[in-house]
Symmetry: C2
Subunit: 344 residues, 2 copies
């Protein structure tokens, strides 16, 4: 799920989205220009570091949601939308810089992570500086509404990540816990991106509310899809996940459902692996996932959220963003199908 853009190097998922979002190509170019223009705001001594983080900016899903939710047709690109797209992207980049420290990640999108490049201490502070600048940009609107919405969302994203962190290595996670965590850590920024786009484009309160609900459920669906792809995606990604994520005790929906469906003895064994007491048996668990229908069950959870997202826009077919946003749902549905294993 990706918007096209010069900085996008994640071709595998970018490809699926580039047809759907070709109409945003000029917006993304404008966003790039704007983001690079922001570097002047940083103290000269840290400008190159900020530039490094902005360069690794990835898929730009959240800016795409801003532009689509505020869509009034092609033509001139709204400065307000570009600025707010930059705000949500910078918040997202800041969380990535901090995530990479915590995950000890060395590479992101074919480049060394900020933590690898500058060390953990500088990376913590660099993430802080990006956050601070994002919120400073958000004050460059006539009212406090934008900055208020963004800072509240940021706090909620952090809360979701804290919950996920504290539950690592615990095998007592319920589906409700998982749902709550992804609602905060992922769906919140999707929601606020849609909210801000529609609001700044001047849509009425009912539509802004509908689009926000759409964004939230699309975000939940996207995170479940992403967790599914960790197990049923490309060989390379699956290997990495089973080797690190499972071993680090991060329980996502595929693993939660697997735990539910295993025999007590098998569950005890998987628990011991999650707790780091036994070595991880990747091949076995992938086999179990396939034979116990985990793919279908998780894909169904994605579908339910996509349907809720779609339902939020049901009575707003006449608004310009609606067909474009619904198109995102189709893209995501297609991406889930593309993951489907040959033999389920």
């Amino acid at each position: 799920m990706s918007a096209p853009g010069p900085a996008d190097t994640d071709r595998s998922t970018a490809h699926a989205f580039s047809n759907g979002l070709a109409l945003l190509a000029p917006h993304m170019l404008e966003l790039d220009r704007f983001l690079h223009g922001q570097l002047a705001a940083f103290e000269p001594e840290i400008r190159a570091m900020a530039d490094y983080c902005i360069d690794t900016s990835g898929k730009r899903i959240r800016p795409a949601l801003v532009f689509l939710s505020g869509w009034r047709g092609p033509g001139q690109i709204s400065t307000d939308l570009v600025r707010v797209a930059a705000v949500v992207e910078l918040v997202h980049l800041a969380t990535l810089v901090h995530d990479d420290i915590m995950d000890r990640a060395e590479v992101r999108r074919n480049r060394r992570t900020a933590v690898r490049e500058y060390g953990a201490t500088a990376a913590v502070l660099l993430g802080d500086a990006l956050f601070a600048h994002a919120l400073n940009l958000a004050t460059q609107f006539p009212t406090t509404e934008i900055c208020s919405a963004v800072s509240e969302s940021t706090r909620r994203v952090c809360a979701g990540e804290i919950m996920q962190t504290l539950r690592r290595g615990s095998t007592n996670i319920t589906r409700a816990d998982y749902q709550r965590i992804i609602d905060l850590k992922t769906a919140e920024l999707f929601r606020v991106s849609c909210f801000l786009g529609a609001r700044l484009a001047g849509f009425g309160p009912d539509y802004v509310e509908a689009v926000s609900r759409f964004g939230r459920h699309l975000g939940i669906a996207y995170q479940i899809y992403d967790d599914l792809a960790d197990f049923f995606g490309e060989e390379k990604r699956v290997g990495k996940t089973l080797g690190t994520d499972l071993a680090s005790g991060k329980l996502t929906l595929p693993l939660l459902l697997l735990m539910e469906r295993l025999t007590p003895a098998e569950r005890d064994e998987l628990t011991a692996e999650i707790l780091g007491q036994h070595p991880v048996q990747s091949g076995l668990h992938l086999q179990q996932m396939r034979s116990l229908g985990i793919f279908g069950a998780v894909a169904e959870a994605v579908t339910i959220e996509i349907n809720t997202a779609t339902a939020a826009l049901q009575e707003t077919a006449e608004e310009a963003p609606t067909p474009l946003l619904l198109g995102l749902c189709d893209v995501l549905r297609g991406q889930v199908l593309a993951l489907q294993p040959a033999v389920v």
Copy 2:
């Protein structure tokens, strides 16, 4: 240098300030009440963690600057000042949470640090959540001005800390580098605290500007004093500093001046210790500092900054905050004198 307050456990410095700032006792109580009221804004799952950070809040110098710069006389306490004091204190607390991760600090003000209590990952995110909430609080004013000032200051504080981090272990630091770093990492938040207090209390632009300049130079003076106290303060603190800060390569003014005044052979030896090539000889360097007049030279640097701060308020004696702010300078002068070694 400290304001009295229920959460203040740093008695050694609190004492020196408590006489001067007794008039702020009701303000600090109100601030405490307000900060604890903010916990409701955090997601229930992270509320106890946010509470833990707020409880360790320390000296509250920045809120004191807000209240004093906005002083209109005793009596009713302005809600605006309490809110903005909470904003600057939360930003400061967030930086402390992140600092403690980077310094691997275990204890702060007689309590375990957030990183010791919750782990580094949760502490990074908790600091982020505190930042985000501080900026959200800053949007609860009629205009974007407050949040804009705070977010810009926050970015500058981070930039200063990044510079300090990147220079650790380097022995090529100039006095200009040191000055620039403390101007950003410490003086910036002092400056903005004074700015916000005076601005929200409705003082005219000239006085707001004068008070901001005062705050900046008081902040520089305070940081130099603090760095001096690391070497000439209580025995316990000095031991810690020479054991850890010097060994970790953090070059502050006392060390910079010592480097300048040592013979080439002695300088090479100290450099080797800073680079971690030789064990640190604490006793020797304290002796060198005493015999080379480092105390006097650093104390003079503090005095120069205090004088610049004082000069900023020279023509504003009639404004209510002026005598109180000048009182802070006297307190700081007294604290420097109290550090003076028996034989210099």
